[in-house]
């Protein structure tokens, strides 16, 4: 068991005023037996009304709101303390949609060949380790080489990408090998920016793999949101009126208590 304190702040600056800004945040850590949220404080500004909290189809906590008046920046942040304990879990079946391709994880012929070259180990857990190794070996980490709309197939043939692309390729390959897999957005121990990794389902529970760093995602990883791919669980989605450039700055820090 590990007790972690976390802090995550994002600020978006607009070059011209925007209005009618609707947002949907998934920055509140998930509440799970393995991840008990002890306390948190969420802030967002500007705000005009309370906004609303909810849970989506993937089990993520969401916070949504709307800013009608003109504004030139939007920031949100969360701080808190939680307990991570991977030995706590309630065995259950994964949602069936984690077995099938999603919008960003449709396999290409290239990816199918790649998947077929992964050697099957005695358990899915070991096979997943082999997938993480292969994905790590295939990619060169190049910030800015892909966008949030890049599919697994596109990133794979580019051989370059960021954590999102590593995770998408990992998920695509795992599903091709009949291992249920999902995408995770979250905060790993340390500081910098938010991260993405993947989980596979094995023997009643989810196991985390971080193919970008070629390691498992252990109790030092805080899960903010999960989904079939990035589109299901991005930390922030927004829609507003106004023609402008956006500049985003983000900072996160996770420390062991």
């Amino acid at each position: 068991m590990r007790k972690l304190s976390f802090e995550f702040n994002t600020r978006i600056d607009f070059s011209n005023p925007v209005k009618e800004h609707s947002f949907l945040l998934r920055c509140i850590p998930m509440s799970l037996p393995q991840q008990r949220l002890l306390r948190f404080r969420l802030n967002a500004e500007p705000l005009e009304t309370m906004g609303s909290f909810s849970t989506d189809s993937f089990g993520n906590s969401t916070y949504s709101g709307r800013i009608g008046a003109e504004h030139t920046s939007f920031s949100y942040g969360i701080t808190g303390i939680l307990e991570r304990d991977d030995s706590c879990f309630i065995p259950k079946q994964p949602a069936p949609f984690y077995r099938y391709p999603s919008f960003l994880t449709h396999p290409s012929a290239e990816l199918i060949t790649f998947a077929n070259e992964i050697s099957h180990m005695s358990t899915d857990l070991e096979t997943a380790g082999a997938i993480a190794d292969a994905v790590f070996g295939h990619f060169e980490y190049v910030p800015g080489s892909t966008s949030t709309a890049t599919t697994a197939a596109q990133a794979f043939s580019l051989k370059k990408g960021v954590c999102q692309d590593y995770a998408h390729v990992f998920i695509t390959v795992a599903r091709l090998l009949n291992i249920p897999a999902r995408y995770v957005c979250g905060l790993p121990l340390g500081d910098g920016s938010s991260h993405a990794w993947a989980e596979i389902w094995h023997d009643g529970r989810w196991y985390g793999f971080d193919p970008t760093r070629d390691r498992t995602a252990d109790e030092g990883y805080i899960k903010l949101s999960v989904g079939r791919d990035f589109n299901d669980c991005s930390i922030e989605r927004g829609h507003f009126l106004g023609a402008c450039q956006q500049h985003q700055t983000s900072f996160m820090k996770v420390m062991e208590q």
């Binding site: 309370m50 909810s54 189809s57 009608g68 099938y100």
Partner: protein
């Protein structure tokens, strides 16, 4: 009835004047054209209609139960009636709709079920349309114009009035309304069915709104009107699921309402039809509908499917490959008459290609026997010609499931074509349901 025939041009002119148009995208550009009206009505006897009523209500009720189950307990998959493959690989399946059941468990409030009448006098279901089926306004306005041109015709013939569609639609919206006004949400005038959106709003006393008139705040949907902002309790949206909410589906949708899905999932607004229905009107799921009816209702289907084969099953694959020249092959991912191929029209080489495609992706195709359906007379200049026609019946699920006593009869322009989809040219007729 001759009286009505004389008025063909007049009615078509009236419709042009009222803007009864049908928009179509051809080679990437939007073209609006008139949807030609043929004055000879399709006549359905009251005994035939009562069979259709029972059969269609049964089918739509079962499909609503199927959707409720798919997005919650998934019993039908666990009981091995419908393979998981066909649900989760369907482009119409939306994981974002999991774990929430819409008001009164109604997913498909307005269903457009396409049928044909075989030469054997049997009605066959061709396709279910449970997303945003369009077309009810055409026979509706044609009827009211013909009544005006030729009131005598309707005094002499014992035809059921179809002008209650607006009331039926209103009842459907009121039934699930969670508090607030009813709105018909249109993507705007560049949509194929814009005429229909405005006409139905008028007929059902709902407000016609575009994305800029609507917004979500604190999980409620609001309409910004000339007289202030009011809450919306039911939204009959005429845009497809993917564009509905840019924060939930396609992020670049400019015609959606941000956070509409949040309001919906909070139970504060009914979306008509519910998002996610595409999983039940998928051409692959079509094969399973008779099984779905038996499973949920424990009844025998009253109306038959066209004989259909799923190459997904080995036996059906064999049958499809060896009888391909007399079958029609449909790509399950396509709609609107696209992706439909008649084996008889293909060259040897094309047939071989198709067979390879089916073998490579069996899940993607269904094959069907070509139904020899009845031709209907259509006026062509001064003579009458025979054309293939289908019927889109409108089934409305409110506090009861009811079939609108009319329907859209579409006929093909081309004498040899079996494809009667309005996206593919052709025209329409009024559909008369008789009291006798």
């Amino acid at each position: 009835m001759d009286d009505l025939l004389i008025h063909k041009e007049e009615i078509n002119m009236q419709m042009a004047r009222y803007g009864v148009k049908f928009g179509i995208y051809k080679n990437g550009t939007f073209k609006e054209r008139l949807f030609p009206y043929d004055p000879i009505p399709r006549v359905i006897s009251s005994s035939d209609f009562s069979l259709l009523e029972r059969g269609l209500a049964q089918r739509v009720d079962a499909l609503n139960m199927f959707l409720t189950d798919i997005y919650s307990d998934k019993k039908i998959i666990k009981d091995n009636v419908v393979p998981a493959e066909f649900v989760y690989r369907s482009p119409g399946y939306l994981a974002q709709c999991e774990g929430f059941t819409p008001p009164k468990s109604i997913y498909s409030h307005i269903s457009g079920i396409d049928l044909v009448l075989g030469k054997d006098q049997t009605w066959y279901i061709l396709e279910d349309n449970l997303r945003v089926p369009s077309g009810a306004s055409y026979p509706l306005i044609a009827r009211s114009l013909s009544r005006r041109c030729s009131p005598e015709t309707f005094r002499r013939n014992d035809v059921m009035d179809n002008r209650n569609y607006g009331n039926m639609l209103k009842e459907v919206m009121d039934n699930v309304n969670t508090g607030g006004i009813n709105v018909i949400f249109t993507p705007g005038r560049y949509n194929a069915a814009y005429f229909e959106h405005s006409y139905l709003a008028e007929q059902s006393s709902a407000v016609l709104a575009e994305a800029s008139d609507l917004f979500v705040e604190n999980d409620y949907l609001y309409y910004r009107g000339n007289h202030g902002t009011v809450r919306v309790g039911a939204i009959y949206r005429r845009i497809s699921d993917e564009y509905l909410d840019p924060l939930c589906f396609y992020p670049d949708s400019l015609i959606g309402i941000p956070n509409l899905m949040e309001a919906y999932r909070a139970g504060n607004v009914a979306i008509i039809n519910a998002p996610g229905n595409g999983v039940a009107d998928d051409k692959g799921i079509y094969y399973f509908v008779p099984k779905i009816i038996r499973y949920y209702l424990d009844e025998e289907p009253i109306l038959m499917n066209a004989p259909t084969f799923l190459p997904f099953y080995e036996e059906d694959m064999k049958y499809t490959l060896s009888n391909i020249t007399r079958l029609v092959i449909k790509d399950v991912a396509e709609a609107g008459g696209y992706g439909v191929v008649f084996g008889s029209e293909l060259t040897e080489e094309q047939l071989d290609n198709l067979k390879e495609k089916i073998k490579a992706e069996p899940r993607r195709f269904i094959s069907q026997e070509v139904i020899d359906f009845q031709d209907l007379p259509v006026i062509d200049g001064k003579t009458t010609v025979m054309r293939k026609a289908d019927l889109r019946a409108f089934v409305l699920s409110g506090s009861n499931t009811r079939v609108w006593p009319s329907g859209l009869t579409r006929f093909s322009r081309n004498p040899n074509s079996f494809v009667v989809n309005s996206s593919q040219g052709g025209g329409f007729k009024d559909t008369w349901i008789m009291f006798q």
